[in-house]
C-alpha cells in the first residue's frame, strides 16, 4: 500500500527542466534513496514533493489525497516533512526554538521536544544556544529533529551528510538507523554510495531529471549505480532497471 505517490512529475527552474516526468511510489515504513550527480534534479524533486517548488506537470499524492495546490505549510500539517539541503535552520533562534517552531504543523505524536532531544543527545547541552553557533553535525541533527517535531508520515532528507565531518556523518546515520528501525518512512537523497546502499531498502538512480535505474538496494551493485550516475551505457542501465 503506497503512502506517497509521485506521478509524471515535471518541475522547472525557468527554462531549465530540472525534473522530467519522474514517477515512483513509497510504501509505509520503506526507506527509498535517490542517487544521482549534482544537478540531476534530486533536490528540486524533494522540494516539489514538499510544496516548496511549483510543479509544472504531474501530481503528488499522500495516502491517496492529491496535493495539487496545497501549500508547503499545509503539507507539513498533512505529514510531509523536508529536511532541506543546507539544513536551513533559523540561525537567530535557539535550538529549542527551532524545534518548538515545528509545532506549528499541529501534528501530535511520539516526537516531542523531550523525545527529539533524547534521540539526538548532542543537542541536549546546546538547546539554549543560537542555531547559528552549532557545528555542522549539530545543525544537521537539529534540522532532522525539527522535521521530526512535525511527527511526519514521510520524512524527506536532502543531502544530510553534505559538508559534515566523517564522524558527524556517522552520528547522523546512527540516528537515522534508529528512525528507520522505528518504522519511519524516509525518502533520502545522498551522495555517499556506501551509506546509501547500507541504509536504503530501494534505490532510484536519477540522471538529468529522469529515473534511469531502480531496484531493491540488495540487487543494486555499485557498478550499476555508477553507470547510471554518469549516464554511461544508458541503455544497459535502463534495461537493468526494467528487468
Amino acid at each position: 500500500m503506497s503512502l506517497l505517490t509521485v506521478e509524471a512529475l515535471d518541475a522547472r527552474h525557468g527554462l531549465l527542466q530540472a525534473v522530467r516526468g519522474i514517477s515512483f511510489t513509497v510504501t509505509a515504513g520503506e526507506t527509498v534513496a535517490l542517487v544521482g550527480a549534482n544537478g540531476a534534479g534530486k533536490t528540486t524533486l524533494l522540494r516539489a514533493i514538499a510544496g516548496a517548488h511549483p510543479l509544472s506537470g504531474g501530481r503528488v499524492t499522500l495516502d491517496g489525497a492529491d496535493l495539487a495546490g496545497v501549500p508547503a505549510h499545509r503539507r507539513a500539517a498533512l505529514g510531509l516533512a523536508l529536511v532541506p539541503e543546507g539544513r536551513r535552520l533559523f540561525a537567530q533562534l535557539t535550538v529549542e526554538e527551532n524545534l518548538l517552531l515545528a509545532r506549528a504543523a499541529g501534528r501530535r505524536g511520539p516526537w516531542t521536544l523531550e523525545t527529539v532531544l533524547g534521540a539526538f543527545p548532542m543537542l541536549q547541552p546546546r538547546r539554549h544556544a543560537r542555531a547559528g553557533t552549532l557545528s555542522g553535525g549539530e545543525q544537521q541533527a537539529a534540522a532532522i529533529g525539527r522535521a521530526l517535531m512535525t511527527n511526519p508520515r514521510v520524512l524527506l532528507l536532502d543531502e544530510v551528510s553534505l559538508g559534515l565531518a566523517p564522524l558527524a556523518v556517522a552520528r547522523v546515520y546512527a540516528s537515522l538507523a534508529t528512525l528507520i528501525a522505528a518504522g519511519t518512512t524516509i525518502v533520502l537523497v545522498e551522495q555517499d554510495l556506501t551509506r546509501t546502499l547500507a541504509t536504503a531498502d530501494r534505490i532510484l538512480c536519477v540522471l538529468e531529471g529522469q529515473i534511469l535505474a531502480e531496484g531493491p538496494a540488495a540487487d543494486m551493485t555499485r557498478e550499476r549505480i555508477t553507470a547510471a550516475y554518469f549516464g554511461l551505457h544508458r541503455d544497459a542501465a535502463g534495461q537493468g532497471g526494467a528487468a
Binding site: 514538499a50 501549500p71 505549510h73 507539513a76 500539517a77 526554538e97 517552531l101 506549528a104 504543523a105
Partner: protein, 293 residues
C-alpha cells in the same frame, strides 16, 4: 539645572518618538519592508480618534478601544493587497507602493477634513497641561510622562511577545527565512499579516499621542515619518530597545538644540541622525576594508 531639565524633557520626548518609530522598526525587522505610509497611517488613526471624540463624545483613551482593533484589522488588506504583492517585485517596489499609499491617505484626509489643524488635547481634560513640579526648575508634564511610560511598556511588551510566544517565534523565524518556515508548518503569509496588524495597532497608539500632545492636519504624516525613520536608524534597525534609545537620542538632541537657538530644535535632531548615519556607513566601510585585507 536648566540643562538637567532639558535632558529630562528630551528623554520624555524621546518616548513619543519611540512610540511612533515602533511600528516602522517592527515592520522593517520582521518583513524587511520600509513602510513610507507609516506617518500618514498614524495621522489617519489620529483623525479616527478625533472623529470619535468630536462627533460621538468618546474620549481618546476610550476611542483607542475601537481604533486599535480597527487599525489592526486594516493591517490585513494592507499586507494582502499592497505589501505582499509589491514585495514580489523586490525591495524597491514596496517603498514606491507605500509612498503612493501615503499620498492617497493624505489627500483622502484632506478631502474629508479640509486643511484645518486639529488636536485631541481638548478631549483629555487637564491631562494635556497637568504637570508635577519636582523643583523650581524642573516640571514634568503628566502627558509626557505617560507617553514615555507607554513607550517603555509597548516596546518591552513587544520584545517579550517576540521572545516568549509561539507567534513571536514564528514572526522571528519568518523574518529570517520566509521560504523555510513553510516546511515546518508555519503559514508565512498569515504570520506576516499578524505582524502587519501588530504594527498597525502600535500606529493607533502613536496617533493618539500625536493628537494629544500636539496638533495635526491631513499632511502631518510626512513629518512623523521622518521622526520615526530617524529614531529607527539611530537605534539600529532590528532591535526594539534600540528604537527607544534612538527616540531618546533625537528627543534630547532636539531639546538641547532648542536651548541653543529656536531653530535648533529640528535641526539638532536631523544633524544627530546624519552623524549617526555617517558613522554607521564609515564604520561599515572600515569593517569591509578590514575583511578584504
Amino acid at each position: 539645572m536648566i540643562l538637567l531639565n532639558q535632558l529630562i524633557q528630551g528623554v520624555l520626548l524621546g518616548g513619543y518618538y519611540a512610540l511612533i518609530a515602533c511600528g516602522l522598526a517592527f515592520m522593517f525587522s520582521v518583513m524587511r519592508i520600509i513602510n513610507l505610509a507609516h506617518g500618514s497611517l498614524a495621522v489617519l488613526a489620529a483623525f479616527a480618534l478625533w472623529v470619535l471624540a468630536d462627533r460621538y463624545d468618546i474620549p481618546p483613551f476610550l476611542g483607542l478601544l475601537i481604533v486599535v482593533p480597527g487599525m489592526a484589522a486594516l493591517g490585513w488588506p494592507l499586507q494582502r493587497f499592497v505589501l505582499q504583492r509589491s514585495a514580489r517585485g523586490g525591495m524597491l517596489i514596496p517603498i514606491l507602493a507605500t509612498f503612493g499609499l501615503a499620498v492617497v491617505i493624505d489627500n483622502a484626509l484632506f478631502e474629508a477634513f479640509g486643511a484645518d489643524t486639529r488636536s485631541l488635547a481638548p478631549y483629555i481634560d487637564t491631562l494635556a497641561y497637568d504637570s508635577w513640579s519636582i523643583t523650581d526648575d524642573i516640571t514634568i508634564g503628566r502627558l509626557a510622562a505617560l507617553t514615555f511610560a507607554v513607550a517603555v511598556i509597548e516596546l518591552g511588551g513587544l520584545q517579550l511577545f517576540l521572545a516568549r510566544t509561539p507567534l513571536g517565534r514564528a514572526i522571528r523565524a519568518t523574518a529570517e527565512d520566509p521560504d523555510t518556515v513553510g516546511l515546518v508548518g508555519v503559514n508565512a503569509r498569515a504570520v506576516n499579516a499578524a505582524a502587519t496588524a501588530i504594527a498597525m495597532a502600535t500606529l493607533a497608539i502613536a496617533g493618539a499621542f500625536l493628537g494629544m500632545r500636539a496638533t495635526f492636519d491631513p499632511y502631518a504624516g510626512a513629518q512623523q515619518l521622518v521622526f520615526a525613520f530617524e529614531a529607527t536608524v539611530i537605534g539600529g534597525a532590528g532591535s526594539l530597545w534600540g528604537t527607544l534609545a534612538g527616540g531618546v537620542v533625537i528627543g534630547v538632541a532636539q531639546t538641547l538644540g532648542a536651548q541653543i537657538s529656536p531653530q535648533g530644535f529640528l535641526l539638532a535632531g536631523h544633524i544627530v541622525f546624519l552623524l549617526v548615519l555617517f558613522a554607521r556607513v564609515s564604520g561599515f566601510a572600515a569593517a569591509l576594508r578590514a575583511r578584504v585585507r
